[in-house]
Amino acid sequence: MADKRLIRISDDALARALGADKLAAAYEKKGCEVHRTSSWGMQWLEPLVEIDGIGWGPATLEDVDDILAGNGDEICIGPIAAHPFIARQQRLTFARAGKTRPTSMEDYAATGGWTGLNRARQIGSEAILAEVTQSGLRGRGGAGFPAGIKWQTVARAAGPQKYIVCNADEGDSATFADRMVMEGDPFLLIEGMAIAGAAVGADQGYIYVRSEYPDAIRKLNEALQKCRDTIAPFRCEVRVGAGAYVCGEETSLLNSLEGKRGEVRAKPPLPALEGAFGKPTVVNNVLTLAAIPHILTEGGASLYEKLGIERSKGTMPIQLAGNIKHGGLFETAFGISLGELVNDIGGGTDSGRPVKAVQVGGPLGAYLHPDQFDIPFDYEAYTKADALIGHGGITVFDDTADMGAMARFAMEFCAAESCGKCTPCRIGSVRGVEIIDRIRAGGRTPDEIERAPQMHNAPRHGRSAGDEIGLLTDLCETMKFGSLCALGGFTPYPVMSALKNWPEDFTGKAAAETEAAE
């Protein structure tokens, strides 16, 4: 007999990578009605099967019958919404996560969708700008610039044509919140962009999505098709990146959008005044724009402003990744400590070994030591600790991690992704890799040319690992202060924090030999 119960399984790319499609097909074959929803964000439990609010995960094809029969106790987590990982969160941007079908206009409208846009249209530009400013919302893409101020600049700029550009290039390792919004709640992002359009007087939007996210591209296109009339006269289009990390930097992104090499532009002019195609442009991250519809509901701005601490207002969708037991999306008000995130919520490492290091803020973020676990999630607190929140990604490493190798990788990544415009980054990153290799090899002896009798001024004593460390420190200073953008400018953070906290990982000779053999 066919089973008529409603089964909910996420169609998020992560769930799909772990077999969610096959599970859904198996339930359909049994005659069940299957809804493909967004993901709750408890990624260690994906694929998660939900029946009447109860969850089973991670589920495999072998579990299909057991779950239907109400068994499968080993993988049953009980009521999903009451799970501590969910219950402890304060979800505003991810309020719909796990609950709606991503591209269903019906589900979106039934869960408060378009209320922000409708109200925004009633109250008009000045009032929208005032509320966004009041909310204290800061850019979630990394720099933390106040959204309200950026919008005001664009609104006051003269010109008949302005643009809203959504930065969906999400290239940082350990980040996936943008992806989850685009795949799980695409109308939310589009609504945020339409509100931005109404605020600054822009009727054209572009969403620049990295090519590594085919599911997000597909769902955004589907959603845009469906809501075209709802957002009119605002129009919006998806543009696909081409595999360059640096195109997440806003001016590089604009060049790319215009069909140029993704080289970083010098500022000024600010993109707010001369952005896409030389016109005034709002460039905001996905999470910044996705926070807008909530802020624009009645009383939303003051509620947002009351959350968080100091100058970090509202909530941040934090992404727990790497070697962590409970990885996934955790949205909460600013102020939570790193230790609470990693140990209490994340459950420590997935391997069960001690935590050695935590990188916050993606490839340009510092490696923090467990001694620093009381640091509160706050833009300024991180800046003070020579670290950054960035896009809110957290990567946990256990005690097997080789931090010398990670520092080397930071330089290697910078070299691979540098746009090439400025010297400290383009050349410094390559030299950085070499210096780290030499530190790990214990320094270097004078080479053939230096030993030649004609080379009167060349040093005869080679360089010790300590000398090389001095060089690395010097190089990092140059990159930090001499680079045009944060790719070259922030790569010193992971490098120097690794060196400072785990110097022993730089001086092991054996480690150097394995690297060199690659």
Binding site: A13, L14, E46, S173, E212, R239, V240, R261, P363, F397
Partner: protein
């Protein structure tokens, strides 16, 4: 007129009216021919009234565009920080052995599945929570 220039002409015509048409065109050409070679660059330059150097500069900037088609199946493996923290480097040896000369292994930095790595991508299909044998199997099936 060769069929290639005809096809590229169609692609250009499709995107010509858009703002910033070059990247969408390059994506379509790469998809259609598996590369953007010198001949295509010339045709696109002519179609958009750009210099050939302009187009070549753009093509060569982006990792997604290649000058020659890849004949072998390609498996992308994420080797960014979060996947390193979950042990991708330790299974690369097995991956290389499974790939041999038949499969091209391509390093990428982040597929957005950073809590369930190591991860790989073949075409638009993603694979997560891989260990050595599972990754080898993905490669063998590529």
């Amino acid at each position: 007129m060769s069929s290639k220039s005809e096809k590229i002409g169609e692609i250009i015509a499709e995107h010509h009216g858009r703002e910033g048409p070059l990247l969408p065109i390059l994506h379509d050409v790469q998809e259609e021919f598996g590369c953007v070679d010198a001949e295509s660059e010339g045709l696109i330059a002519k179609g958009l009234n750009l210099s050939r150097a302009d187009v070549h500069g753009v093509v060569s900037f982006y990792h997604d565009f290649t000058a020659e088609p890849e004949q072998r199946p390609v498996v992308q493996i994420c080797r960014a920080e979060a996947c390193k923290a979950r042990g991708v480097e330790a299974i690369m040896e097995q991956a290389r052995a499974a790939a041999g000369d038949r499969v091209k292994l391509h390093t990428v930095y982040c597929l957005g599945l950073c809590s369930v790595g190591p991860n790989a991508r073949v075409g638009d299909t993603l694979h997560a929570r891989l260990d050595g044998p599972a990754l080898a199997k993905v490669i063998e099936n590529a």
